[in-house]
């Protein structure tokens, strides 16, 4: 279903490249379908006729590309409770704490060493979020 719609919009892309793109967005598509399922459950249990807005928190170290997620949601929401919902994605910056010198530092990748002592022994303290923060019904 998504595949067809996706292809339909992208006639100009060669077949081989399409598969490549499709593979790239695929796990964001998994995330999108999870979001839709949670929203559908929510709408049923709250007897909400429609969801007007959904707010997501996606950590920069979560492995999810927010642009791809937006795109995947656009493909996937058709005929679901989220079809007309405004989607707000808030990116949560990555933050780690060094296990050697306890310094806290921002990092948007998983391999930045501690800027204070250059140790690679650090733990992520935020940026792994994959969460639906709020749902607005209206």
């Amino acid at each position: 279903m998504f595949l067809e719609k996706f292809y339909y919009n992208d006639h100009h892309i060669p077949e081989r490249q399409k598969n490549y793109i499709f593979a790239i967005i695929m796990h964001e598509l998994s995330i999108a379908t999870n979001i839709i399922e949670i929203a559908e459950d929510f709408a049923r249990s709250h007897q909400a006729e429609k969801i007007s807005r959904i707010e997501l928190e996606i950590g920069q170290l979560s492995g999810i590309v927010t642009d791809s997620l937006q795109f995947a949601l656009e493909l996937a929401v058709k005929n679901t409770v989220l079809e007309f919902a405004e989607v707000i994605i808030k990116e949560i910056p990555g933050k780690s704490r060094c296990n050697k010198c306890q310094a806290e530092f921002g990092n948007n990748d998983l391999y930045t060493p501690c800027p204070a002592c250059h140790s690679i022994d650090s733990e992520i303290i935020s940026g792994k979020e994959l969460q639906i923060k709020s749902i607005f019904t209206g």
Binding site: M1, F2, L3, F22, A23, I24, M26, H27, L29, S30, I31, A32, T33, N34, I35, I36, E37, I38, E40, D41, F42, R44, S45, H46, S52, R53, L56, S62, G63, I64, A76, T80, D109, L110, Y111, P113, I120, D121, L130, Q131, I132, K133, S134, I135, F136, T137, G138
Partner: protein, 303 residues
């Protein structure tokens, strides 16, 4: 709609096959998550439709009376399952703080509990396509099958090829074909394990779909995650695909017999991988020649 791979067409659904039982376990679309919507029953005795109720993980609601405001609400109770309702102009806001991967995490923990109870060690093998996972598995099985009880779950989008190769070694195997899905998830593993009928005190090898991106996000309930790279790939793979290396416990560097012919520095690769995950333990192996296999086999025997 499938919660995992987004497939809705039976032709792109997940199938489970055992070699030699080609059609025995075919499920056109085996995800049995409930699609409750549109399930209203009609009752002849004039009763109104009734709809099914669903689990509410959020336990209770606080109703803050209709004060309208357009700014962000700052009183979030992190870690609580409370839910706050606000009247937002005409829309109601529900702060649900729901983890998007909740369902998979829950099912993965269920698998983990099942494996623990049966003293089954589950190993999730992840890598790019073509890194030599299946060859490594074949060699590992032929060395270990005398002394240990082994089972294999093979994950691929299409074909029985890998399961047939494992079947030839004589140990029980089931093939999961994910269709268009790019990774295995906890639910697929749960179903496959039931069909495999895994004995207590076994090692269960799960060969994930060849993909260094998506499987990183999906816990299967494994006891160890093993990422494999081969020396024909770039030594900077750990930096390019950090999530997979970050989430793994073991890193196998495979095809070391080809080192004289390629520009691949094992030390560099290890250094990059350690930058991403300093807990990683390494094995340098040539599954083809058997070089370095002893250390890996020793690790498995000690599990």
């Amino acid at each position: 709609m499938c919660d995992t791979c987004g497939c809705s067409d039976p032709n792109t659904g997940v199938t489970y096959h055992k070699p030699g039982e080609e059609h025995a376990h075919e499920n056109p679309h085996t995800h049995d998550h409930e699609h409750h919507y549109e399930h209203d029953h009609e009752h002849e005795h004039g009763q109104e439709h009734h709809s099914h109720t669903h689990d509410h993980t959020y336990s209770h609601e606080h109703n803050h009376d209709a004060h309208t405001h357009s700014h962000d609400h700052s009183h979030e109770h992190v870690g609580h399952q409370h839910q706050h309702e606000h009247d937002h102009a005409h829309d109601k806001e529900y702060k649900i703080k729901h983890d998007i991967l909740d369902k998979n995490k829950m099912l993965a923990e269920r698998n983990r509990g099942y494996f623990d109870a049966k003293k089954v060690k589950a190993i999730n093998l992840v890598s790019s396509p073509g890194s030599g996972k299946t060859t490594l598995l074949e060699k590992t099985i032929s060395e270990l099958k005398q002394g240990l009880s082994l089972y294999v779950i093979e994950g691929d989008q299409q074909t029985m090829n890998d399961a047939n190769r494992i079947h030839a070694t004589g140990i029980p195997v089931i093939q999961i074909n994910t269709g268009s899905g790019c990774h295995l998830d906890a639910e697929m593993v749960s179903k496959a394990v039931k069909q495999l009928d895994v004995a207590d005190n076994s090692i269960l090898m799960i060969e994930n779909v060849g993909n260094l991106v998506c499987p990183a996000l999906f816990d299967l309930g494994e006891s160890h995650r093993v990422v494999i790279i081969s020396v024909t790939e770039g030594e900077d793979k750990p930096l390019k695909y950090p999530h997979m290396f970050h989430s793994s416990d073991i890193c196998i560097i495979n095809k070391t017999d080809l080192l004289p012919y390629v520009d691949f520095s094992v030390e560099k690769a290890k250094e990059y991988a350690m930058q991403v995950n300093h807990h990683l333990q390494f094995f340098e192996i040539s599954a083809k020649t058997g070089e370095g296999m002893d250390a890996w086999l020793g690790w498995l025997r000690k599990l």
